[in-house]
């Protein structure tokens, strides 16, 4: 699907190029007096997997939420598939249909079965016939090992299963970009692998992903590029082999040393 078709109906005309899936320019975001993002510049190419690392509070989650238009930005520009989504008049709902996001805390709808969780948005936001949505959902659930969980309610699932359902729920909208916000942070250690495997499979299938994570081993393994954030800025970005072994910036070195000291890498 071309970029223009991908974001059709989202608002003002396409101005940029579609060579990048996500392009963030000089993004500022503050919550009251609290400056969270201070001039973030980042671009993600189609089919690229970019990991964001950094201490808690460095702005990783806020960056993802801004890209999904869940948070109004203070200044800067965000282009998705070549289209500026920060100009006034953009239909945020239409933009979000192309950008899936998965949260740390799963946020499944507790009053709906797994199948309803997955089909709600395709049916209500895209107007897909229910039967078609259910078939597509069943297929996706089966692909991620959740075929037998269709009619369960979320509170009957393990954390890993819930997070996989949350990923399937986002995928059901057939997004062109996936944003993953520390999706394994709330999981018991033995459940982390099953979720990481799902993400690996997505990467293998060519999904464009921007991933905020604390799993350094995973980032090194899966990312085409790793960005280190501190105090709302991208301090350093490089392919994982380079950033993890010979970081050029002192702050990156300090952060990685703390991670190693904590036995997390």
């Amino acid at each position: 699907m071309t970029a223009a078709a991908g974001l059709a109906g989202t608002g003002p005309a396409d101005q940029g190029s579609a060579d990048t899936a996500i392009e963030v320019e000089d993004l500022y975001k503050s919550f009251g007096p609290n400056q969270v993002l201070s001039g973030v510049c980042l671009s993600v190419a189609p089919h690229e997997v970019v990991c964001l690392i950094g201490a808690s509070g460095s702005g990783k989650s806020t960056l993802l939420r801004c890209i999904n238009l869940l948070e109004p930005i203070s200044a800067g520009r965000i282009r998705l598939l070549g289209q500026d989504v920060t100009v006034p008049g953009v239909n945020a709902n239409a933009v979000r249909r192309h950008v899936g996001i998965v949260f740390q805390s799963f946020n499944l709808f507790p009053h709906m079965t797994v199948l309803r969780n997955v089909t709600l948005a395709p049916v209500k936001a895209l107007g897909m016939p229910r039967a078609q949505a259910e078939n597509a959902a069943a297929e996706l659930l089966a692909r991620f090992g959740l075929a037998d969980k269709q009619s369960e309610y979320p509170d009957r699932l393990s954390g890993g299963q819930q997070q996989r359902v949350a990923i399937v729920r986002a995928l059901a909208m057939q997004p062109q970009v996936m944003l993953l916000d520390e999706v394994t942070s709330a999981l018991d250690p033995e459940l982390v692998a099953e979720v990481l495997d799902v993400i690996r499979e997505l990467a293998g299938a060519g999904m464009t992903m921007l991933i905020a994570t604390h799993e350094m081993g995973f980032a090194r393994d899966i990312a085409n590029r790793v960005c280190f954030l501190e105090e709302g800025r991208i301090i350093e970005q490089a392919p994982p082999a380079e950033l993890f072994t010979e970081p050029s910036d002192e702050r990156t070195r300090r952060f990685l040393r703390r991670i190693v000291d904590a036995g997390r890498m």
Partner: protein, 323 residues
């Protein structure tokens, strides 16, 4: 006894003239002072749960003691026999229950149907109107600012003005306007209107609490999937909000059931009014006891049902916390 005395008796959950013995004693053992004793001893949501046999023995004993004391005080009171004759005379209770229009009084048993009908009509209207008010108050759009102010004034006003005054104002004020359709309705209709106006203010606050109880991350999850605000509200937020507020909603409806008695002041023959007509015709107030019993029969099942729902929710939450 003046109108107001009697109504106060209802408002404060039956003391004084509607006191213990007779059939009321049974009702009071679940709704009256004994319930407090159970509440602290049992600690569980069910009256007699959580403590095994010893707890059962203690609670039974304390119930018997409390009830016996109340009955003894009642029987030992200087005016006891007179009160028993005036309020608990079986013959008068039966007569007022079946009614006799030829002698100038109505059946309390038939009149309670008007209360039930008014309750059911008001309940539906309240649920709808209160939801609209709550959604307006929760809105954030600048365009809706004037509506938000109106909704706030509405809630402040009707929570602040006694329901009885609202009943009078609607019941006597609207007909006096001599409008073509609006001013020619029955007193029951004005009563339902007054109940709806007043209770919607309370219930809208319950809804609002429910909407606030749904975590913001649910909104984010719904919106992030591309659902519009209205769709997210309809399918994700409201179902969870309503689930959370069923117990307090039912609590308000228990209160609404007996407040239908206030419509009697307009002259509508509901149970309370029928009972008072009997009392002022025959000069025996056992009819009021009959009305009280009928109201209890209506409210107690709803109260127990509410308890059960609260219990279920509590267990679910505990189960959820373990995973």
């Amino acid at each position: 006894m003046s109108d107001n005395d009697f109504r106060d008796g209802y408002g404060t959950e039956s003391q004084g003239p509607l006191g213990p013995p007779g059939p009321l004693a049974a009702a009071l053992s679940t709704g009256g002072p004994a319930a407090g004793a159970f509440g602290t001893a049992g600690r569980g949501p069910r009256l007699l749960s959580g403590g095994g046999r010893r707890a059962t023995v203690i609670s039974t004993a304390s119930t018997v003691v409390v009830l016996a004391a109340l009955v003894a005080i009642f029987l030992a009171a200087p005016g006891s026999s007179q009160v028993r004759h005036t309020f608990f005379d079986p013959h008068d209770m039966w007569q007022s229950f079946i009614g006799n229009p030829k002698d100038g009084y109505f059946s309390v048993g038939a009149a309670i149907w008007l209360n039930i009908r008014m309750f059911l009509a008001a309940e539906v209207l309240i649920l709808a109107l209160a939801l609209v008010i709550a959604l307006i108050r929760q809105s954030t759009s600048p365009v809706l600012f004037p509506l938000r102010v109106l909704a706030m004034i509405y809630v402040d006003f009707f929570r602040g003005v006694p329901l009885l005054l609202v009943v009078y104002a609607i019941g006597f004020g609207v007909p006096a306007l001599r409008l073509s359709f609006v001013s020619t309705q029955s007193f029951a209709v004005y009563g339902v209107a007054a109940l709806t106006l007043s209770y919607s203010a309370y219930v809208s606050e319950v809804y609002r609490a429910g909407l606030n109880s749904v975590h913001q991350s649910q909104v984010a999850a719904a919106r992030s999937l591309g659902l519009s605000h209205a769709t997210a509200l309809r399918y994700v937020i409201l179902p969870q909000a309503i689930r959370n507020i069923v117990p307090p909603l039912l609590n308000d409806f228990i209160s609404l059931q007996k407040d239908t008695a206030l419509v009697g002041v307009l002259g509508a023959i509901e149970a309370n009014q029928a009972a008072q007509i009997y009392g002022s015709t025959v000069f025996n107030y056992s009819s009021l006891t009959v009305a009280a019993i009928l109201f209890l029969i209506l409210t107690i099942p709803l109260a127990r049902f509410t308890d059960r729902l609260i219990d279920r929710d509590r267990r679910r939450r505990l189960a959820g916390a373990l995973t």
